[in-house]
Structure formats: structure tokens, C-alpha cells
Symmetry: C2
Subunit: 368 residues, 2 copies
Amino acid sequence: MQASFTVHYGLRCAAGEDPQEKARGIALEQTVELPAACLREDIADTWVGRIQQLQPAADGRWQCSIRYDARLAGGELTQLLNTLFGNISLKSGIRVEGVDWPEELLGAFGGPGHGITGLRRLTEVPEGLPLTCTALKPVGYTARELANLAYRFALGGVDIIKDDHGLADQPSAPFRERLSACQAAVERANRETGGSSRYFPNVTAPVHLLEERLLAARNAGCRGVLISPWLCGLDSLRWARDRSGLALMAHPALTGGQMGGEHGLTPALLLGELFRLAGADASIYPNTGGRFGFSEATCRQINDALRRPLGALLPAAPTPGGGMDARSAPHWIERYGPDTIVLIGGSLYAQGDITAAARGLLQALGRD
Amino acid sequence: MQASFTVHYGLRCAAGEDPQEKARGIALEQTVELPAACLREDIADTWVGRIQQLQPAADGRWQCSIRYDARLAGGELTQLLNTLFGNISLKSGIRVEGVDWPEELLGAFGGPGHGITGLRRLTEVPEGLPLTCTALKPVGYTARELANLAYRFALGGVDIIKDDHGLADQPSAPFRERLSACQAAVERANRETGGSSRYFPNVTAPVHLLEERLLAARNAGCRGVLISPWLCGLDSLRWARDRSGLALMAHPALTGGQMGGEHGLTPALLLGELFRLAGADASIYPNTGGRFGFSEATCRQINDALRRPLGALLPAAPTPGGGMDARSAPHWIERYGPDTIVLIGGSLYAQGDITAAARGLLQALGRD
């Protein structure tokens, strides 16, 4: 029996649209891209998706499950994404809600290289306590100014001090200069405090520069990096893991348009399962109540997708952020559990003395 | 005066949402990611987006234009995308409708390496006549079977015979094997007919294989390739252009979820301007009336974005496809003009004798 993966869809049929036909359309569109009448029997039997289930859901939509031959994905994340939502992204009323992964695909893509446990090891945060993260910003600051912020955050004990995802290679703080200044600043603070803060530079970059930035980060002594998989392509995560061995924190930039509605991928599938499958050790998402619009239920689904048992894949760390108030951090850890990274930016900056603000945050989280 | 680019948005305000605040939110979110109160004056003056215009539109939405310092994009397509729709993709009711590009950015990204004129040159199709394109499929066929199709399409005179975008490196027809078989088949047909059909293999691939596939295609004698920029990352287009010199046909796989609604990018911006800017010589989109849902007005906007004067960028070829009937091709050329590539797949296959079907298509388009 050939390995297969089953994709679960929520379908919204337009007036006059037949759910059976819509499901059949997906099974053809995502595989052979030909009308059934043009297909040889062996191709139809082997390669066309098989509708396993199609039934009405409570909200007027239809639940549909289609099984695909695992060879369709060709062992490549680019083609896996294509199979999940390539051409049907151009249709409407199709939400990809989940995937039953066979061991073959999980093994081929491999998941996190470090996982939550690895992140704990490199930041020396014991089990049972949450990790903290903040962002260096704004764009426009010089490398020296950003390094100064990094130093002060590290003095305050923040575990992961990452570049803001909008810091690329702007002339105000070019990547190389920022990398060495910020890494040196965090190392200096660690020497002074005996702490283990880590600087994660943003390596999101054009194709020809991604490798250079990754290796520069590793050579500078960084233990992890930030990357935006939707800007670089999802496979950049897997490749960065394999090429650099660094811990990877994924940023959701550009993913939003494809999530959350009745057409697209669910946040749990995209920011949870797919990012984890591709190698994210931590996945940033906009927590409920911040500047963005996820519900708490959605956030919990992302957490679950990142941490639940999934073949031999390591659990990855949910990293809620996006305008969270520092004072609410203990509340969210209580709700989401300690295997979480609390990402707080603006709310620390707003307190003026960011070292004191960071210390306060750690204290509130039982980290002192 | 520092170079800048202006982005035009259509905003849909939720109940109680203030348009001024929404616009201001975008200007901060896409730049400094800090509340205005946390910003030094020089940063606020230089780096935060400047609202140039904000006025109610006829449909209850708001038209908003924000000007950004061109240095924000850092000369990189990854960061340009981030600036256009990175974090705000996670909000709602924001449609990015257009960009006023400064020469600096157009020059930095460069656009098509061949353009329509270059595609005409390599297929020997004179000015004033449209080009034709078809796709090799279905997945599941062996390299030999696909090559046989390529041969028969080439005998019929189809100009560009591309892999279906779902053909990656599946075991049924591995990339290398398919590449040599299909390229040889098209060359053989060309020798027999004296024609100039071209085989464009699909090079969409994981990061570490993209270069290998591009160069393999070039070494095999191909003059162009197919690539899905949303699967590989937008910058893969620019990089493929610079690294290989091959003509690039872009496929819209995975773009759909972010287009066409009140939140996202417009099809003309994404499949037109951005793909062209990044280096696409041809951009495939789903024509109206086929399996997907674009209106004719949307298709015309894409055509315009690909062909209109834009700095020194070459015009790229609109490539309507997606379930078009061969019989309707002359109609669409009449409407879209001859600087168009007609992409017809299933409708040729459905005729059984694909060589005769292709000849019929060319005849109908005045290409005999």
C-alpha cells in the first residue's frame, strides 16, 4: 500500500454550486489538472485525489476529506504547498483545515532541529518556566543604537532578543554591522550578569544572500536566527536548518491574507503545522487581544499544532506576540502553559527603562 | 530629497474603526512597529510612512495613500514585500491596490530579462501575432509519455510547451529524466517542421535544488523555464533571471488566497507589477470564464500592469489560461491584443489528436 496523506477541507458552496462537484474539482485540480474524461484509467486510479468523506457541517459549509498519494509531493516542500493550496487558492470557498501526515512525509521534511527543549538548553531556562523574547527596533536606528538596546534588554534578562522582522539590510543599520554590534552587546551583558541571553538576527533575505547571512550569524556566535518563511519561501526554513544548524524562529509576515477566512489555510495549519514541519523551533503569531485579530481559540489551535505529538517531530515553541501588554504575560502563560515564548516589544519600550521593564517581566513570570 | 515610494490602499473600516487611525496604524506597522509615543523625532520624521491622502470612496471604503522612504525596502524583494503587506496581512480590511515606483527601486529589481520581444525572438513569432502555450500533464505519466505529448504539441506548432506546474520531481517522471526527454522531443519536432517550439520545464524547487534545475535546463538547451514564485519566494524570479539568463514564465500557484477580496493585494499588483518587477517575462493568470473567478476587468488590469511603460522595465507577456476553451482563443486575442500568450491545456487534450488540435488553434489565431 502506497503512503498517502489526507487533507481536510471546509467548503462553502456558492448558490447553485454542488458540493460533490466542488470536492471532485479539488481532487482533479490539485493533481492531474485535467477533466476526468481526459484521463487514462491507471492515472485516475493512482494520482487523482480520492474523496474519503463529504458531509454537511453545522454552519452551512461542507466537511470534505481527500486522500492523495504521498508521491505527489515529490519529497519537496514547494510541491507539498502546491498540492495543499496551489491552484485552488485561485478558487473560492475552500479552507484547508488539517492534514493527516504519513510518517514518510514527516520524516522527509524533518521538523525542528532544536525544538522547545533545545531552546531551553541554549537559553538555560529550566522546564516549567516560560521563555521571554523581545524585538530590536525601530528601523532607522544605527547598529550601535540597536546594540545598545540589545545590551539593556540582555541586562534585564530577556532570553531571546531578536531583530524586528523589518530590519533587513537598510543603510541605517546594515546586516553585517548590526550583527556584530548586537551579538557583542549581548555577550557583554551575559558576561556581566552570568546570564544566557541570545541575539537572533533577522536573516530573511534574497536567495543569493540567505546562506551568507545564516553563516555570518553562526560565525558571529549566534545560536539562532529570525526568518520570515512567507517572504523567502517555506522551504527556506528547512534549508536554513540543514545548512546552518541554528535555532529558527519563524515570523508570520505576509501569511495573513491567506488565513482566517472561509478561503485559505487555517492559522493552526500554516503557522503551526507547516512551519513546524519545515523546521521552525519557534513560531511567532499575533496573540489575541493585541494589534491583530486572532481569537483565543485560534491561538490555542496554533499552540496545539506546534506542540502535539507528530511522528518523530520535536515540539516547537508557540511565540504569541503582536502588541501584547507586559502585564498580561502571566495571564497568558497560565492559559497557554510554560512551554511558550512570551514575545513583548512595544510594551517594554513604552516603560522607558527597558532593563527595568524586562526585569519586571521576568519577575512577573516567576523567572527571578 | 530621498527617493520614496507611495502605496495606495483601499480600506474597509469595521464598525467603530476610525479611518485616520487605521491609516496611521499602517504607516507605523509597516515601518517602525512601535507606537508613535515611543519614537524619537528624527525616526518619526524619516522612517514612519507619511499619509498623503485619505478620502472616502464611493463604496463605503476609504482610499488612502502612504509615502515610504525607499531605503525601507533595503534593495531587497523580500523586504519590499514585507513593507507592502508583511504585518498588515495579519490585520483586516486593507487592500494594497497600487504602488508609485521610483526609478531607484525599478532599477534595483530590474524586471524582465527578455520581455515580450525576447519571447517573440526565441519562438520566432512576428509582431502582431499572439503566442501559444500549452502544458504537459497529467502527473503520473512517465518522462517518455510526457515527451511524446511534447513532440505532438510541437508538431502542431505550439510555441511554448511547458510542464504542468504540478510536475516537480515525482518518481513517475523525475525532473532530470523529464527534462532531457521533453527537450529532445521538442528539438526533434522542430527539425521535422522547421519550427521553433520551446520546452519550458518547471524548475520550482526547494532552495538547494533551484540552481541545479535552472542550470540543468540551460545546459539541456532550454531557452526558458516555468517557476511558481509564491512557492519559492518572489525573489526566486529575480535570482533565476540573474543566475541563468533564461526566459521566465511565472505561475500563480498559492497566490490566490491573497487576492481579489477586500483584504490582500490586487491581482494586477501581484501577478502583474510584482511578478514583472521581479523578472517574469510572462505571467500566467486564470482568464475570466475558465475554472477560476477573475472578472474581465481584473484580467485587463493584469495585462496593463504587465505591459504598460514602467521605467526602463521591459513589457512582460500576459498569459491567460486556467481552463480556456481553444475555440475562444481568437476572441480573447481580439480583446487583449496580440502581445499575449494564449495558454490552453485541457481543451486541446479533450480533442484527442493534440497535434491537429494545436494546428487548429494556430490557424484560428492567424498563425498558419
